[in-house]
C-alpha cells in the first residue's frame, strides 16, 4: 500500500462531519465517569446531563443543517451525508430526548440501575445516526448491530421483572436471527459483486454505489437478487413488517415503557431510513421485483397489524400491534416512492407525525404505569379524563392522530401517503389501507372510550373492583413536554408549512 493511498483515504476522513455522533459517544462515556466521580446525592443530575447533551447536539445539527460535506463520500466511502440523513439525525435526536425524559419518569419506580440507561440510549442514538448515513455495507451492518445490541440490553433492563427478561430473551433470539439473515444477504451480494483482489482497495462489493452499478448491469443476477431480498428481510424485522412482526407484542409489553417508546419510534424510523436508502440508491435497478414485493408486504402488514390489534387490552401490546399497521402504511409510502419521488418526503412527514403522536401517548402511559410496568390495561384508563383531564386530553389527541382523524397531524400524514399511492397507481393497496383505517378506528376509539366514557358501575360499590395504579401527576416539565407534543400534533394538522417546507422540497 503506497502512501498516496493512505493520504487519499485520510483526506476524506472529515471528523467534523460526524461531530454529532462523536459528541454523543464521548458524552455516553462521560456519564459513566460521572457516576463514579459524583457524590451519591448529586447523581440525580446525570440524566439531565444526558438530555442537555442531546439538546445541544440537536441545536448544533439544526444550525449546521446545510453542511459543507453534503453529498460527498467521506471516510473512504463509508459515509455519505445527505438531506435525508440530516432529517434522520434531527428525528433520532428529538426522539431520544423524549425517551430520556420518560426514563426520568419511569426508572425511579423500579429497582434498576439509573445511569446505564442513558449511556446506552446515547450510544444507540449515535449508532442510529450513523446508520442513516451509511454508504457501505460494513458500516451499515456495524451501525445496525450497535443499535440492536443496545436494544437487547434496554429491553431486558428491569432485571427483576420476569416479563422484561422474557422480552429481552425473545428479542435477543429473534434479533440475532434477523441479523444473521441480513448478514447472509450481504455476503451473497459481496460474493456476486466483489472482486476479491484488493487492487486499489476500492471495488470491494460493499459500497452502495458499486452494488447499485453492478445491479444495473446485471439486474437478473440470481445471487445478488437473493442477497438483496435477504437484506430487505432483515430490515423488515426492524420495522416489524409481516411476516417478521411476531416478536412485537411480547417485546413491547415486557420492555420498560421508555424503551417501548424508543423501539416503536426510533427503531422503526431507522428501519425506514435504511429502507429508503436501499430502495432508492442500492437496489433501485431491481424495481421490477421490489414493487410487487413491497406492495404485498405492505398490504399483509397493514391487515395483520390491524386485525391483531383489534382484540388487545394491554395498551403496550396495542401500541405495538397498531405500530405494525403504521409500518404497513409507511411501506405503502416507500412502495409509492419508487415511482413518485416526493413520496419519500411524505414517508418522513408521516414518521414525524407518528413520533409526535406516539410520544404523547407513551408520555401518558409513563405516568399511568404502576409498579408492574408490563401491566398496563385499558381498564386502568377508566375515569382518566375526570381524574387527570390533562392526561386525558393528551391521550385523546395522540390516539386520535394515530388513528388518522382530522384535523390532527396523523391525518395529514396519511393523506400525503394516500395521494402518493394514488399517483403511483397502487389502487388495490390503497383500498386495503383505507379499509384498515376504518378498522383501526375501532380499537383506537375503544381506548378513548375507556378514558372518557364512564361505564356503568353499581352504586353501592364506590371503589373500583380491580386494583389499578393511581395515575401520577405530571411535573411541570412533563406538562410542558406533553402539551408541546399535543399542540404540535394539532397545529401540524392545520398548518403543515414548518415540516413540508423542509421535507417536501
Amino acid at each position: 500500500m503506497s502512501t498516496e493511498l493512505l493520504q487519499a483515504a485520510a483526506e476524506t476522513n472529515q471528523w467534523w462531519a460526524i461531530g454529532p455522533e462523536m459528541i454523543l459517544g464521548c458524552a455516553a462515556l462521560g456519564l459513566l465517569v460521572l457516576e463514579i466521580v459524583m457524590p451519591k446525592d448529586k447523581r440525580k443530575l446525570i440524566p439531565h446531563v444526558a438530555m442537555m447533551t442531546l439538546l445541544v447536539v440537536l441545536a448544533g445539527v439544526g444550525l449546521n443543517f446545510d453542511t459543507e460535506w453534503k453529498d460527498q463520500e467521506l471516510f473512504g466511502g463509508l459515509i455519505l451525508l445527505t438531506d435525508a440523513g440530516q432529517v434522520a439525525r434531527v428525528f433520532f435526536l428529538l426522539s431520544s430526548l423524549l425517551v430520556c425524559y420518560f426514563g426520568t419518569v419511569c426508572l425511579p419506580r423500579a429497582r434498576a440501575p439509573r445511569v446505564e440507561f442513558y449511556h446506552i440510549v446515547l450510544v444507540v442514538t449515535a449508532a442510529l445516526m450513523l446508520l442513516a448515513q451509511s454508504n457501505h455495507f460494513v458500516m451499515f451492518f456495524v451501525a445496525l448491530e450497535t443499535v440492536t445490541i443496545g436494544f437487547y440490553i434496554l429491553v431486558g433492563y428491569y432485571r427483576e421483572s420476569t416479563r422484561s427478561l422474557e422480552a429481552g430473551l425473545k428479542y435477543l433470539v429473534l434479533g440475532a436471527l434477523s441479523s444473521a439473515i441480513m448478514l447472509f444477504g450481504i455476503v451473497l451480494i459481496y460474493g456476486a459483486v466483489g472482486k476479491v483482489g484488493l487492487e486499489g482497495g476500492a471495488h470491494t462489493g460493499f459500497e452502495f454505489s458499486v452494488v447499485a452499478d453492478f445491479l444495473r448491469h446485471h439486474p437478473d443476477n440470481f445471487l445478488a437478487t437473493a442477497g438483496a431480498l435477504l437484506v430487505l428481510g432483515g430490515v423488515a424485522f426492524k420495522i416489524g413488517a409481516f411476516p417478521f412482526q411476531i416478536w412485537i407484542p411480547d417485546v413491547y409489553q415486557g420492555a420498560p415503557t421508555p424503551v417501548t417508546a424508543f423501539l416503536a419510534v426510533s427503531s422503526k424510523a431507522a428501519g425506514f431510513a435504511v429502507l429508503l436508502t436501499l430502495v432508492h440508491r442500492v437496489f433501485a435497478p431491481l424495481e421490477g421485483v421490489l414493487v410487487p414485493l413491497l406492495s404485498l408486504l405492505a398490504a399483509a402488514t397493514i391487515i395483520m397489524g390491524n386485525l391483531s390489534a383489534l382484540t388487545q387490552h394491554n395498551t403496550k401490546r396495542l401500541m405495538g400491534l397498531s405500530g405494525v399497521s403504521h409500518a404497513g402504511y409507511l411501506l405503502l409510502g416507500v412502495t409509492a416512492s419508487i415511482s413518485v419521488p416526493w413520496a419519500a418526503g411524505a414517508v418522513w412527514f408521516y414518521l414525524f407525525t407518528y413520533m409526535l403522536a406516539s410520544m404523547a401517548v407513551f408520555g401518558v402511559m409513563a405516568h399511568l404505569a404502576g409498579a408492574d410496568d408490563a401491566d398496563q390495561e385499558l381498564e386502568h384508563y377508566e375515569r382518566l379524563a375526570r381524574d387527570r383531564p390533562f392526561l386525558g386530553a393528551v391521550l385523546a389527541i395522540g390516539v386520535g392522530s394515530l388513528a388518522g382523524i382530522p384535523p390532527l397531524a396523523g391525518f395529514m400524514g396519511k393523506l400525503l401517503l394516500f395521494v402518493a399511492a394514488f399517483q403511483a397507481h397502487l389502487y388495490w393497496l390503497l383500498a386495503v389501507a383505507l379499509g384498515s383505517v376504518v378498522v383501526s378506528i375501532y380499537y383506537y376509539f375503544g381506548w378513548i372510550k375507556a378514558a372518557f366514557f364512564e361505564s356503568w358501575q353499581p352504586s353501592g360499590n364506590a371503589t373500583s373492583p380491580s386494583v389499578r395504579p393511581v395515575p401520577a401527576a405530571p411535573s411541570w416539565v412533563g406538562v410542558a413536554v406533553m402539551a408541546t407534543l399535543a399542540l404540535a400534533t394539532v397545529l401540524l394538522g392545520f398548518y403543515q408549512a414548518p415540516l413540508t417546507s423542509w421535507l417536501l422540497k
Partner: protein, 507 residues
C-alpha cells in the same frame, strides 16, 4: 381593513378560538358567556354576508380569501368563499348553531364546559364545511365537526350510548373514507394539480374525464356521501345515533352536518362528473325512492320511541333530497338546496322540542304519553308547527323544497314521483299521529304519576328562544323563498358552474 372576506374567516374562527380558550381552563361562568358570544357572532356575520351577497361575483364566488398552509405545492390551500349554493347552507349552519348553542348554554349537563367546548368545535367545523372552496378543506372541516359528535354521544348520550357511539363512528368513518378516496381520485385524475373547486371545475369543463372513470368516481362519492346522509340501506346508524345523542348534538348533526353529503353531491359531484352522474341516476333514484322514502317511511310509522321516530323521519326526508339529485337538472338541484335548509331547521326544532317533552314526561315512549297540550300549550303549538313544517305544509319552507323536487322529478320519471308523493302521505300519518299521542288524549297511568310528582311547566325562555329562532326562519323562508332560490338559481345556471345541460338528461 376588515373586508367581508375577513368576516367570513372570522365567523369560522370565532367558535374554534372560543373552544381553545375554554380548553385552557377558563372558569365555568366566563366559559358560558364566551360560548354565548361565540355562537352569536357567526349568526350575525352570516346574516350580514347574506344581505351583502352580490348578484354575480368572480366565478360566482364572493368573499374569497386564500391562506397557504404549507401544501400549496400540491394545490392545497385554505380557500374560503361562498357561492349561491354555499350561502344558504352557511346561513343554515349559523342559525341552527345559534339555536343549538343557546339551548346548550343552560342545559343541566354534567361537565358543561367540555360539552360547550365540543359543541363549539363542531359549530366551527360546520361553518367551515360550507365556506370551503377547497375540496380538501371541505372534507377536513366535516371531520372536524364529526369527531365531537362521537365524543358527545359517548359521554352525554342516552340509552345504548356506548354502542351507538361506536356504530356511529365506524359507519361515518367508512363513509368519510370512501368520499375521501373519491375526492383524491378527482384530484389525481383531473390533472389540475389542485384541490381548488374553481380550478377543478374549469379544468374538467374544458377537458372532462372519460365516462368510465367518471362512473367509478361518482360511485365512490355517491356511496361515501350516501353513508353520511343515511342512504338506504346504509342508514341504520342514524336513528340509533340520534336516539342516543344529547339534544344539541342531534340538532346540529341532523340539522346541518348530515347535509354535508348532499351538499357535496350538488356542489362537487354533479358539476365535475356529469356523465358519471347520468350513469348512476336511476340506481340512486330507485334506492332513495323505494328505500329511503317507502321502506323507511313504513318503518317510521311503526316507531314507538319519539326520538327514534324523528331519526327515522329524517332518514326518510333525505330520500327526497337524493331524488332531487337524481333528476340531474338545475331545478332538481335547486330544490335539494331549498329542502336541505328547510329540513335542517325543522328537524332541529323537533329534536329540541322532543327533549323538552322528555323533561316533562320522563319518557320517549309514545304509547305512554298524552294530554300534554292542556298543561303546556306553547310546547304543543310549537311542536305541531314543527310537525306541519316537516310534512311540508304550504307556509313553511319545506313546502317549496318538496314542490320543486316533485316538479323536477316529474320530468325524470312520473312513477318515482308517485312514490315520492305517497311518501308525503306517510309522513303526514306518522307526524300527526305522534303529535296527537304526545299532546292529546288521556295520559297513561305511569305518566299521570310522573306528572303528579313533577307538575309540567310550559316552555321557559331558554327553550322558547331557540325554538322561536328556528320557527321564525322556517316561516320566513316559507313566505319568501326567493331569499334562498335567487342565489341558488344564479349559482346553478351561470357558467362554469352549470350542473348539467338540463335538456339532455330529461327522459
Amino acid at each position: 381593513m376588515l373586508t367581508n372576506a375577513h368576516l367570513l374567516q372570522l365567523a369560522i374562527a370565532t367558535p374554534l378560538v372560543a373552544a381553545l380558550i375554554i380548553a385552557c381552563g377558563l372558569p365555568k361562568r366566563f366559559s358560558i358567556r364566551l360560548a354565548a358570544i361565540a355562537f352569536t357572532v357567526p349568526a350575525l356575520i352570516a346574516l350580514w354576508l347574506w344581505s351583502k351577497f352580490p348578484a354575480a361575483g368572480a366565478q360566482n364566488y364572493s368573499f374569497l380569501s386564500t391562506t397557504d398552509t404549507g401544501l400549496s405545492a400540491f394545490g392545497l390551500s385554505l380557500k374560503l368563499g361562498l357561492n349561491g349554493i354555499a350561502l344558504p347552507m352557511f346561513l343554515l349552519a349559523a342559525i341552527v348553531g345559534l339555536a343549538a348553542g343557546l339551548y346548550a348554554l343552560r342545559s343541566q349537563a354534567e361537565r358543561l364546559k367540555l360539552y360547550l367546548l365540543l359543541l363549539l368545535v363542531m359549530h366551527g367545523g360546520l361553518l367551515g364545511v360550507f365556506a370551503s372552496v377547497d375540496v380538501f378543506f371541505f372534507y377536513f372541516f366535516h371531520e372536524l365537526a364529526l369527531i365531537p359528535t362521537f365524543i358527545m354521544v359517548g359521554i352525554w348520550g342516552g340509552r345504548d350510548r356506548n354502542y351507538a357511539a361506536m356504530k356511529l363512528t365506524i359507519y361515518l368513518t367508512a363513509g368519510a373514507m370512501l368520499s375521501l378516496t373519491g375526492l383524491i381520485a378527482i384530484y389525481v385524475k383531473s390533472g389540475a394539480n389542485s384541490f381548488d373547486l374553481i380550478t377543478l371545475r374549469e379544468t374538467l369543463t374544458a377537458d372532462p374525464l372519460r365516462v368510465t372513470t367518471q362512473k367509478y368516481i361518482f360511485g365512490l362519492l355517491m356511496f361515501g356521501f350516501g353513508i353520511l346522509v343515511s342512504l338506504w340501506p346504509l342508514h341504520t346508524w342514524a336513528p340509533l345515533g340520534y336516539g342516543a345523542a344529547p339534544s344539541s348534538t342531534a340538532m346540529l348533526h341532523a340539522g346541518v352536518l348530515k347535509k354535508f353529503g348532499l351538499y357535496g353531491l350538488v356542489q362537487i359531484a354533479l358539476p365535475l362528473l356529469p356523465a358519471g352522474a347520468a350513469e348512476w341516476a336511476w340506481k340512486l333514484a330507485l334506492l332513495a325512492g323505494f328505500g329511503n322514502v317507502l321502506v323507511v317511511g313504513f318503518i317510521t310509522m311503526a316507531q314507538r320511541d319519539l326520538k327514534q321516530m324523528l331519526g327515522y323521519s329524517s332518514v326518510m326526508h333525505m330520500g327526497y333530497c337524493f331524488l332531487g339529485i337524481a333528476c340531474l337538472s338545475t331545478i332538481g338541484s335547486g330544490g335539494v338546496i331549498l329542502l336541505m335548509v328547510a329540513h335542517g331547521l325543522s328537524v332541529a326544532l323537533l329534536f329540541l322540542l322532543a327533549t323538552s317533552v322528555h323533561h316533562r314526561t320522563h319518557t320517549f315512549d309514545l304509547a305512554e304519553m298524552g294530554g300534554l297540550a292542556q298543561k303546556t300549550p306553547v310546547l304543543a303549538a310549537l311542536f305541531l308547527a314543527g310537525t306541519m313544517a316537516s310534512i311540508g305544509l304550504p307556509g313553511f319552507a319545506n313546502f317549496w323544497g318538496e314542490l320543486t323536487i316533485f316538479v323536477a322529478l316529474w320530468n325524470f320519471s312520473p312513477w318515482i314521483t308517485a312514490v315520492a308523493v305517497a311518501g308525503v302521505v306517510i309522513s303526514a300519518i306518522y307526524g300527526l299521529r305522534a303529535a296527537t299521542r304526545v299532546f292529546f288524549g288521556p295520559p297513561s297511568e305511569a305518566l299521570q304519576r310522573v306528572m303528579a310528582e313533577h307538575p309540567p311547566a310550559d316552555l321557559d325562555w331558554r327553550e322558547r328562544l331557540p325554538a322561536l329562532i328556528l320557527l321564525a326562519a322556517l316561516f320566513f323562508f316559507g313566505f319568501y323563498p326567493r331569499a334562498l332560490s335567487e342565489p341558488v338559481n344564479q349559482a346553478l345556471t351561470a357558467p362554469p358552474t352549470v350542473v348539467t345541460a338540463p335538456a339532455s338528461f330529461h327522459r
